[in-house]
Amino acid sequence: MSFPRRQPRTASPAWQERHKMGTFVAAYAAVWLAVVLYVARLGAQQRQLARSVEGLQLRLEQRDAEQRSPSVAA
Amino acid sequence: MAAQLWWIVHKDLVSECRTWRVWPAMLLFGLVVAFVFGVQADLPPDQRPQIAGGLLWLAIFFAGMQAVDHSCAAEREEGCWDGLLLYPISPAAIYLAKLAVNAIALAALECLLIPAFAALADVPLMSHPGAMLLVALLGNVGICAVGTLLSGLVAGVRHGGSLLVLIVLPLVIPVVLAAAEATRLAAEGQLGPEWWRWVHLLAAFAAIFVTAGATLFDFVIRD
């Protein structure tokens, strides 16, 4: 089994010199961006859940209030 | 169990022969890809086998997925799914039968595509028919093993058809790759240890996927 069939070219030292720092920064920026986006999404879902909890609480209170004092017929 | 298997295989094949819902589309799709390759391939003759194997198996995969998707989706659409489950047959047997039907469909596709590729791309794919037969058989079983299992999975899901290709392709890449390499070597006439290594890989994947499929199909079809 021969892998790969086409050998990639090795970068020249001068080219490497120019791109080392940039590559390092790009990689860490990519990781940071992905993590930040995921955590932001988690936060958004948590806020959505909090809103649902509040809505549910409201509905339960309303239901309790209706059961305790039945409305007078018009 | 063999009788039950044969019953399902026979039922599916007869139903396809009566209605011709999938096979014509599948064969036409494969032919179109063969034409496109024939038009595109402007390479010198000694380089053509390198691409021919890969493109042949990609064509077989994409065209064959139509048949595989149909195997379980049609049962659900027509409402036959529950009937099939009521029949006293083990899920593994249903899986193996559907696998056989899909492998037969792919075999029919290959009977058309391999000569078409050989002619249009001018690649000697038919020079070692025994070798090609073995590669085609193992490749079929490998692709259909994963496809049948996952087709049962996405049968009830929204946009199940397009989803099927999306989830099957990554899993069968090793199979398609091995089959393509083996085809390339067969077309170049090099049936030595390297070719046998690819064939062993194909056999290993086929065995693993068929075992996994037969075990997991029970969970797939139970609603």
């Binding site: 892998f3 590559t23 859940l49 549910l56 | 996952l150 929204r158 090793p174 996927f209 996994a212």
Partner: protein
């Protein structure tokens, strides 16, 4: 006020089963944890991550040939390990769901799948950047890279299939089957450098300081993604609880 366990309804398909696998004290812990339980894991993980970043930037010496681009290794290896472990968790949770039919396991699977997808994608991206620095090519068809790409594609398919199924139990079953078949790729990723010949680096020579930095980076990454996993799983569980309570309030 009904008990949590009653409200959630049958989390298992067999009638009469309730939230059986999680004991009561653990339920309370994750539903409304006291302040200490909320803060301590975060603080601990935060300090581990900070230590890891310090180690990567200050402790680890600059490598001779690759320069600073070599530091990508610390993040790339950690992300790869998290991706593989994450997908293993997905497959294991899926298997446990199929055996026990308890939706609690499915929450672990969903959370782990998101983490694994993210980690695997980051592995491919950071690896690609490193390859561009080292070999002047963004991608090469090499066994380990191909296997990792397959793993990423499988986890993407997993998330897409899950989003297409409404019923929780059917969704859990579909995910479990897909994860178990996809788990066949994990040994391929791990053993790719041993079974096939390729150009992916295998155990390069490293100074002790570099090894420490690498270890610390892996631990920090794992802790962080583990924290995300647990939080996300808690969120999913809360969603199910809320859904049950809403149905109770309506019906």
């Amino acid at each position: 006020m009904p008990r949590t366990a009653d409200l959630l309804g049958p989390s298992k398909e067999r009638p009469g089963d309730n939230l059986g696998t999680v004991p009561i004290f653990a339920q309370r812990k994750w539903d409304c944890p006291p302040l200490g339980c909320r803060i301590i894991p975060d603080v601990l993980t935060g300090s581990l991550v900070a230590a890891g970043l310090l180690a990567i930037s200050l402790l680890a010496p600059t490598e001779k040939t690759m320069g600073d681009a070599q530091r990508i290794l610390y993040v790339h290896v950690a992300a790869a390990w998290c991706g593989l472990a994450g997908f293993l968790i997905v497959a294991a949770s899926g298997l446990l769901y199929l055996l026990r039919r308890d939706l609690g396991w499915d929450h672990w699977a969903q959370a782990a799948a998101e983490i694994a997808w993210l980690s695997c994608g980051l592995t491919l991206v950071t690896g690609s950047l490193w390859a561009h620095a080292a070999w002047n090519t963004w991608w090469t068809w090499e066994p380990r890279l191909a296997a990792t790409a397959i793993l990423w594609a499988v986890s993407s398919g997993y998330l897409i299939v899950r989003s297409g199924v409404e019923d929780p139990h059917r969704r859990a079953r579909a995910g479990a089957v897909l994860a178990l078949v996809g788990a066949a790729d994990i040994p391929l990723v791990i053993m790719a450098t041993r079974w096939f010949r390729g150009i992916h680096p295998v155990s390069p020579q490293m100074e002790p300081a570099m090894r420490v930095a690498l270890l610390l980076s892996i631990v920090a990454f794992s802790a962080f993604f583990g924290l995300l996993l647990v939080r996300r799983r808690g969120q999913l569980r809360l969603e199910r609880l809320l859904g049950a309570m809403e149905r109770e309030a309506d019906g």
